[in-house]
């Protein structure tokens, strides 16, 4: 899923206070799972904004609405579009994709991001999410025992650990980040495939990554 984090309150408030009537638009998919921009978080922000507006004497009316997904046309139903039409601005509580989809959908209504989009990640335990994929466009997981050196090694090294691996941890953040190469080594050892790690991997072709420019995927067979 895409993992995001709520923006600092002040940053959101600075945007919201320019308008009289604002819609907080939640997203029911990834950001609901990572507890950043779902229905509940929309409600928290709405309450905070109401309190702050009262405290500071600003005249801002805040509305709340959450749709299933902000990155798909079909979820922007009539009721949603009607609500958007009533307000001066929308704070999208979706990921960066959702914000941009809203911007494209809502024409002349101002749109602001309510979240900082972080990464493609997994839930390690409730309240803890970690990066797992970098979306490089050419998956190499099969060669590394299912542990990604591109996303999980701080230096994206493809030929083994740097000198900064100690006790299974990465020197960049030993508290929170495992050394990807320790994980790869351990996995490959369990799988009896250690000798594969002795092969020299050539430079990666980053043109499939964002380095090649913004990417699209097209499936002619499923197009309508």
């Amino acid at each position: 899923m895409i993992v995001a984090e709520r923006k600092p309150f002040e940053e959101i408030y600075e945007c919201v206070k320019r308008h009289r009537k604002v819609l907080l638009l939640g997203c029911g998919t990834c950001v609901t799972v990572c507890m950043a921009g779902g229905e509940k978080e929309v409600n928290v922000l709405a309450n905070q904004l109401a309190l702050a507006a009262r405290d500071r004497g600003d005249d801002v009316e805040v509305m709340e609405h959450t749709i299933t997904r902000q990155c798909d046309d079909e979820f922007f139903d009539e009721a949603t579009m009607k609500k958007v039409a009533e307000v001066d601005a929308v704070v999208s509580m979706g990921c960066g994709v959702g914000v941009q989809f809203c911007a494209a959908k809502f024409g002349d209504t101002a749109i602001y991001p309510g979240l900082n989009t972080k990464f493609y990640g997994a839930t390690l335990e409730q309240g803890v999410w970690a990066e797992r994929c970098a979306g490089c466009g050419e998956c190499v997981l099969g060669d590394f025992g299912g542990v990604c050196p591109v996303a999980r090694c701080s230096k994206s090294l493809l030929n083994g650990p740097c000198g900064g691996s100690a006790d299974g941890k990465c020197e960049v953040d030993p508290e929170n980040v495992d050394c990807a190469w320790q994980l790869i080594y351990d996995r490959m050892e369990r799988l009896g495939r250690l000798e594969e790690l002795e092969e020299n991997r050539p430079m990666k072709d980053w043109s499939t990554n964002r380095d090649g420019g913004p990417r699209t995927v097209t499936r002619e067979d499923v197009k309508l």
Partner: protein, 317 residues
Amino acid sequence: MSEQKTLKSGSRLEKILTEGHFAVTGELGPPKSADVEIIKKKAGYLKGVVDAVNITDNQTAIVRMSSMAAGLFALQAGLEPVVQITCRDRNRLAIQADVLGAQACGLRNILCLSGDHQRFGNHPGSKNVFDMDSIQLINMLKRMRDDKVFACGDEIRNTKKQPVVEPRPFIGAAANPFGDPFAFRVIRLAKKVKAGADFIQTQCIYDMERFKRWMTEVVNRGLHEQVYILAGITPLKSVRMAEYMRDKVAGLSVPDGLIERLEKAENPREEGEKIAVEQIQEIREIPGIAGVHIMAIEAEKSVAGLAEKAGLLPRPA
């Protein structure tokens, strides 16, 4: 066949190693300013003391004068530079451009490194590159030198009518016998050798027992016959420095015995030098070692004394 032709680069370091001398390399950190005088001064301390001098590339991710420019000044000051290149700051275009420039400037040794992560430096907000890793960098240089092609496969010539003029570096790489997983450390060295490394400089050694274990494995694999291994030495200057090395540098262990010696010493700096001399003497006895790499960053002045006491002087011509 003349000797010149059998050498890959013709650098002094290559000659010394090929002739079987016990090589000594040093390190010179470029200034954190445009002050050339600092390079000249440091070069003065190292001239005649070491066979070649590593010129660090934004070491510890702190901005310094470029290793190419500083290397050129070191060359002019009579040293033979080993220009360091990290994968952190430049992509394959920039690195290959620099390698061509290095050749044109007469810089004959290049050391390939992944590079310290920028989190540890003075620009933690910068974007890192890591277009390739150090092993891929080694291989890129080897292909430039031996196959005379760029990473993309194009020949290294200005136009089709003009001659191929390829860079001919003596290719170095680093090895850290102390990082984890330990079992991978020799594999990684083997990969560097396979990629085309001509010489290796190791991380500074304090844990001699672990280093010897690593070297045994290196010799068992016959790697010492394919690459020149220079053992890293960094003289300890104080108890604080020893503790810093032990606690703050990932994968580096400093045995308690060494720290105790420094604590008991009346003059820890002298004791540190004494320890370094003993380490060099011990290392010379380890099979497969071709030289030492003395990293006395911001203490270039102290290298001559250490080399003298360790019996490394005079250096061969």
